[in-house]
């Protein structure tokens, strides 16, 4: 971690943004992308780069945010952007950071802080690209951020199930029908905590939700300024795959946090902090809302019976009452109610 080369690599100065009125005016991801109405992942791109600023290179692995944003000969990106393959957001991040470091060492470009951000969707990051991200988080002498935008399905190609799809959700791979009401029985992967726990040298891992824009941008700024490889997992409501009125995008992000389904936390230099509403929930200052408030606003859960809702609720309750670290680490004294309804 204290390699001489890293010590000489300049890091950017990005102060925390104090409130919505202090958000930078400049857009580096602008209008004219072919995303859905109310696309929360497009908002993630916009806030991510608004926080990072102009001296940034963005790499994108295959997914909605690649396909919709770079249709034939046009782009909404102001900063340099490059596509990389579905499973290679980790390798692209390391390679780009290493390339810039070499160019600076050889004096071919000015020595200055250049942010490298590599984004991936949930299939590119949490499933297929997981090994490359894991490797990237071990290469501690390169500065870069890997941002996983998680819309809980392969949304670009018509909503196939992934390891991040929640229990019971309808996808193209998991339809509901008279013979089998619940097709997708896997519980959502806990990617951020897995990467934090598994990469002790990685100095910053966080979960975010773009419904809380200032918290979101400040997590990006922390990840870019701390040094070394970092990872952020963003929770992105998706009107297409979750089947809801696009105007609910913002509200569903808030509801996921307020119901406790999506805990907001950060691990900075081995210190774990819940933050925002999730902190308030853990400290008992905010009552967790029932998960039905979140589930029944989405067509992908419209087939849920009361039993299914109860099961989902029980799993979330366990997460906050039985887990060793509530909402983060599932090593529990005992996990209750782990039998799905028939």
């Amino acid at each position: 971690m204290d390699s001489p080369e890293l010590a000489t690599m300049p890091l950017p100065v990005l102060e925390p943004i104090k409130g919505v009125k202090k958000a930078p005016l400049e857009e580096y991801f602008t209008s004219g992308h072919r995303t859905c109405q109310g696309c929360e992942s497009a908002l993630v791109m916009k806030l991510m780069i608004k926080a990072a600023g102009p001296r940034t290179v963005v790499l994108g692995s295959t997914g909605c945010m690649y396909v919709a944003n770079t249709t034939y000969y046009s782009t909404p990106w102001v900063v340099p952007w490059m596509h990389t393959q579905l499973g290679s957001s980790g390798s692209a991040a390391v390679g780009t950071a290493a390339g810039y470091r070499a160019l600076m060492r050889k004096g071919k470009i000015k020595k200055e802080p250049i942010n490298v951000i590599s984004f991936c969707g949930d299939i590119g990051g949490a499933d297929m690209g997981l090994s490359a991200i894991s490797a990237a988080l071990q290469h501690v002498d390169y500065n870069h951020l890997i941002l996983l935008y998680d819309n809980e399905s392969a949304a670009n190609t018509d909503i196939q199930a992934t390891g991040s799809t929640p229990y019971g959700a309808v996808t193209t791979f998991s339809p509901t029908g008279p013979a089998k009401r619940i097709f997708h029985t896997r519980w959502k992967k806990n990617t951020a905590a897995m990467l934090a726990a598994g990469h002790p040298e990685c100095r910053y891992v966080a979960t975010v939700c773009a419904s809380y824009a200032v918290d979101f941008m400040n997590r990006v700024r922390r990840a870019l300024t701390i040094g070394g490889p970092t990872f952020i997992h963003s929770f992105d409501p998706c009107p297409k795959g979750w089947d809801y009125d696009p105007m609910l995008s913002h509200e569903l992000g808030e509801l996921a946090v307020l119901t406790g389904i999506w805990p907001l936390f950060e691990v900075e230099d081995h210190t774990l902090r819940l933050y925002g509403k999730s902190k308030a929930i853990a400290e008992g200052r905010q009552k967790r809302l029932p998960v039905r408030d979140y589930l029944l606003k989405q067509g992908r859960f419209a087939h849920f019976t009361e039993d299914d809702i109860d099961y989902f609720q029980a799993k979330i309750d366990d997460m906050w009452t039985q887990w060793l670290i509530p909402g983060v680490l599932p090593f529990a004294a005992e996990v209750l109610n782990d039998t799905p309804p028939a």
């Binding site: 005016l25 209008s31 072919r34 396909v67 782009t75 102001v78 190609t157 018509d158 067509g299």
Partner: protein
């Protein structure tokens, strides 16, 4: 005498995907009842489709397989006998995944062909949206609120069979009413659906749209390089940074540059109307807009760029002030002018304009909001929609 007949369904991506599929499938099934052959398919370039972004499905019916295959040499028919717009705001023109620039809704309609539109507006109002054509065509309006649902839960408000029922009327060569009703009965096993289709057949009328009638605007288009003119590595220019805004003597705020090759506004079925007098400058509409369609004005209010807005409604949802941002039916507008400039120029006139626009705010369904919503909506439609829930005779 028998010939190939092409039907094009222009629909809102995702929201009307199942509806468009049902219509094209119904046409082909009905054609088979008469010993014809047909094929239903989506336009390749429209997949993967997105919420609201216009997309197309087709049904081609031919007397025999050889004729059908001949017409399938193209992946999209060069001209249509019937173009169906399942949402009336599509009549303003469509910009899709599959092409660049604005395509008039009636672009493919052959001379004497028919445009079928679902709308609560009278035909005369719809004609004003449609771009002019050099040859005459016909227009049929299926009265009703355009049917929107999502990928997984379908709103069965009988729009599919009401459109199918109208087709034998507007184009008897396509398929007979009897064949259509038999196909509907087989496919949906519902007498109510058959009744809806028959009623639609009886009620549908068409009017002729003459040459030069309609919107005279020249649709925008772009010249993009083919693969032989691409740069090494398929690299392209990035977007430029934006600039502060100058208005009168005032300079300030920020207007981003916007992708000139894709404007996105034909995705919109509702448009935010901003009451600037109520704005508390909280920034949320601007900050939370996924499409960056708000400009920061010199007085720190936020103006909508109506060429970039796709009408998701998130700004209305996050605005903390009641009645400051209101989503209004897109059919109430004929241009994309700056609301802020109108307000700056004449505040009284602007207030009147806002009141008038908010007044025409019919409830539009914009997808799934809560479990049970579609059932409630369908039940409340009843006969007013010409609807299927009216029952027997």
């Amino acid at each position: 005498m028998a010939r190939t007949i092409s039907v094009e369904v222009v629909y809102r991506g995702i929201f009307q995907k199942t509806l468009a599929k049902n219509i094209c499938r119904g046409i082909v099934l009905a054609a088979r009842k008469e010993g014809k052959i047909g094929i239903a398919f989506g336009r390749y370039g429209d997949s993967p489709e997105r919420n609201g972004i216009p997309a197309k499905n087709f049904a081609i019916v031919a007397p025999d397989e050889e004729t059908l295959q001949l017409s399938m040499a193209q992946y999209e028919p060069a001209e249509s006998d019937i173009t169906i717009a399942v949402d009336d705001t599509l009549c303003k023109g469509v910009e899709s995944w599959a092409w660049y620039g604005l395509q008039p809704i009636n672009e493919k309609i052959r001379e004497g062909g028919t445009l079928v539109v679902t709308s609560t507006l009278p035909a005369g109002e719809i004609v004003k949206f449609c771009h002019t054509k050099a040859h005459p065509y016909r227009l049929a309006v299926i009265p009703g609120i355009p049917s929107f649902s999502g990928l997984w839960v379908y709103k069965d408000d009988h729009t599919d069979v009401r459109i199918l029922g109208a087709l034998p009327k507007v184009c008897p060569d396509l398929v007979s009413l009897d064949a259509m009703l038999a196909a509907i009965k087989d496919e949906w096993k519902s007498d109510l659906k058959v009744t809806s289709a028959r009623r639609s057949y009886e009620q549908t009328t068409t009017r002729t749209v003459g040459p030069g009638e309609g919107n005279p605007e020249v649709p925008y288009k772009f010249d993009l390089p083919g693969w032989t003119r691409m740069r090494e590595g398929v690299t392209i220019e990035g977007m430029k940074l934006g600039e502060p805004i100058q208005f009168g003597g005032q300079v300030g705020g920020y207007r981003p540059q916007r992708n000139p090759y894709f404007k996105k506004y034909t995705t919109r079925t509702m448009r935010p109307v901003i009451d600037f007098d109520k704005c508390i400058k909280c920034t949320l509409c601007w900050l939370q807009c996924p499409d960056s369609c708000f400009d920061v004005m010199p007085d720190q209010t936020y103006d909508l760029n109506a060429e970039a807005c796709c009408g998701c409604g998130v700004c209305e949802a996050v605005c903390p002030v009641d009645g400051c941002i209101t989503m209004v039916n897109e059919s109430a507008f004929t241009d994309n002018k700056s609301q802020w400039e109108m307000w700056k120029t004449n505040k009284d006139a602007y207030r009147q304009w806002v009141a008038e626009k908010i007044g025409c705010r019919p409830e539009r369904s914009h997808g799934f909001r809560y479990k049970g919503q579609y059932e409630e909506q369908v039940a409340s439609m009843g006969a007013a929609s010409g609807g299927g829930q009216g029952g027997g005779e």
